[in-house]
Assembly symmetry: none
Homo-oligomer: 195 residues x 4
DNA sequence: CATGAATGAGTCTTCATTCAT
DNA sequence: CATGAATGAAGACTCATTCAT
């Protein structure tokens, strides 16, 4: 298992730092190696090529992300509560790792279409978590019975994404997690929840 | 005025075609020149550099975009109706120009941070249109008095953006404009409108 | 036509010099460009890639080679005389261009199998010239009627090649063309000619 | 003595297989180590560097080669018979070891000039065997008294080499040893033998 | 003796931009 | 105004060799 090798995560963490501080197009392999404290060639003992570093970065970081969210919302009774927990956690996790926020919201989007398609694959797990919540909300009568799951999901992702990106582009000058309740309110109202 | 020179728009239109068909990173200046039917050097008589082509592209196309939307919503009485018209028109205009849809939703996002910041400047006009609608909605009592304008705007842009991007990534296989009413419903509900 | 562009031949001639003086593996594109007096990028206006330079080099130089030989032997009456002229000319042409001799006999053989296969294609014309002479010799009764054309051709090429390579590896310290009559005598005797 | 260590030959044999099956430029030290069933570092306990493997390979294989030929021709009375035996044996030995044929005729020629010079040193023993035969042939009156030993030797090596290389490049599709008598006939005729 | 993880030097190619005509 | 030939900087990846265990 790759993850057990210490240098694997060491290189991924270095990549996050380098990309966040230099930008996607200025994140040369040699710079990542230097930041990780290894030789250039060592990178290629753990990753097939540069793209593989970026995909792995996304998988590792987003994997953790989705796992944490799934754990936390498991205990919540209602879809509305689950959604609140999800938005809170999502905002909080990115808020706690400014480098990661920059990388996922701004830099990694400059990658080419191939890489973006692979990134989308990684996101499918997250997508299913949201769909699950929406379905539960409809079944329990919290949300409108006419709610279109796909469109609602796109609203949720789109809104969170836009909110976070704005925050990052404003150089994270205000507190993101404290926006979670308001954003949550917008989303559940959109889903037809009567508060 | 640049716009009066026929080759100016000729080059911009060529850029849209070339980027849509080849992708952002395969859209070399020489390819755009060839598509436009001019010499490589001629490009630099009308544009400062390659970035300038892309910014101008966005300005011209989005300028038209916002103008058309402003004209159309001027006649509408309520904020709810204006928002519906806006979503409809936005979806319709991109639906009618598949190349432009690909370029704005997928390809231009691969540009670097600097260019994206300049693109955001261009979007500020659109942003003000939305803010205007939201303000009117609050004043007229259509929307919740507690509505946070900035967050609501981010929801609107984020939701429309995510919806359109999904449609483009699905290779425009379904009819986008027909989704407008449902998306509109999500948005106004989110804004606190009681239907 | 490529050949009309002066820089095309300029680059090929530079490649011969650089390869002869530095060896195949030390003949970087930048070195060839410098020798040719052009920028690195200019190379790629005339050649697809580095391999293309080498193939073109062989085609141009060997093309001239075979043409000159064909012209000269056209006037000869007998196969024996034609063969003599061919050996003489072959030795003389390489003797006059020491750089080319090094490149074709030593350096270009270090190329990979793909390139060597393409080089062999170029040599097929030469091969046909030899086969023609051998056929004529058999028909006119100069050579043995049992002569195996393919083996005889391999003897002729193999012997000339080995002779020239030895001369090159001995740093061209003796006069090669003066060996032509003796080599010719070996070859026609091998073909069954009774002198 | 190196040869007594079992891993020494094990590595050389592995090198022959790896080079024959992957080509000279794809024969990495790690691949040879894997094929030999040892660790990369172990190679360097038996060989100074990669070049040393190749030279040793040539020495071991060609040493055997020349020894076998010397044994076999010792019993022959005439130079003509000795030459026939030599050609036969040379063709037969390579015909029996397809991997070795590929390595010596095609792959090892891609090595750089230095290595090729060292390979030539190894060949000097073989060269002396041929010179011996030619001298004997001249003394016994089998061959022409005017025969130039050096050129004749180059004819013999050149012709055999070209014949074998053609056979290898034609993927060994025909029977090489059966060509020996015809090739022998060409060579002794070239040397002035009257049959 | 044997291992194998780690090292780090070296090069082809692209393409935005210029400028002489 | 228009041309298009020429420029030249910049970076991912391989693999022979070492050395701590």
């Amino acid at each position: 298992m790759k993850k057990n090798k210490p240098k694997y995560m060491q290189i991924i963490d270095a990549a996050v730092v380098v990309i966040a501080e230099n930008g996607y197009h200025q994140a040369q392999v040699s710079k990542i190696a230097k930041q990780a404290g290894v030789a250039d060639g060592t990178i290629y003992l753990y990753f097939k090529n540069k793209e593989d570093i970026l995909i792995s970065l996304f998988q590792e970081k987003m994997g953790t992300f989705v796992e944490k969210i799934q754990q936390k919302i498991a205990g919540k009774e209602s879809a509305v509560e689950k959604l609140l927990m999800m938005v809170k956690l999502h905002f909080q996790l990115l808020s706690e790792d400014h480098h990661l926020a920059i990388v996922t919201q701004l830099e990694l989007r400059q990658s080419n279409k191939d890489l973006r398609l692979k990134i989308n694959d990684v996101l499918k797990n997250y997508l299913q978590v949201v769909d699950q919540i929406l379905l539960e909300g409809k079944e329990k009568g919290e949300f409108s019975p006419e709610l279109d799951i796909r469109l609602a999901r796109q609203m949720i992702f789109g809104t969170m994404d836009e909110t976070i990106t704005s925050w990052v582009m404003n150089e994270q000058r205000y507190d993101l997690p404290s926006l979670a309740p308001s954003v949550h309110q917008l989303l559940i109202s959109g889903c037809g929840y009567k508060s």
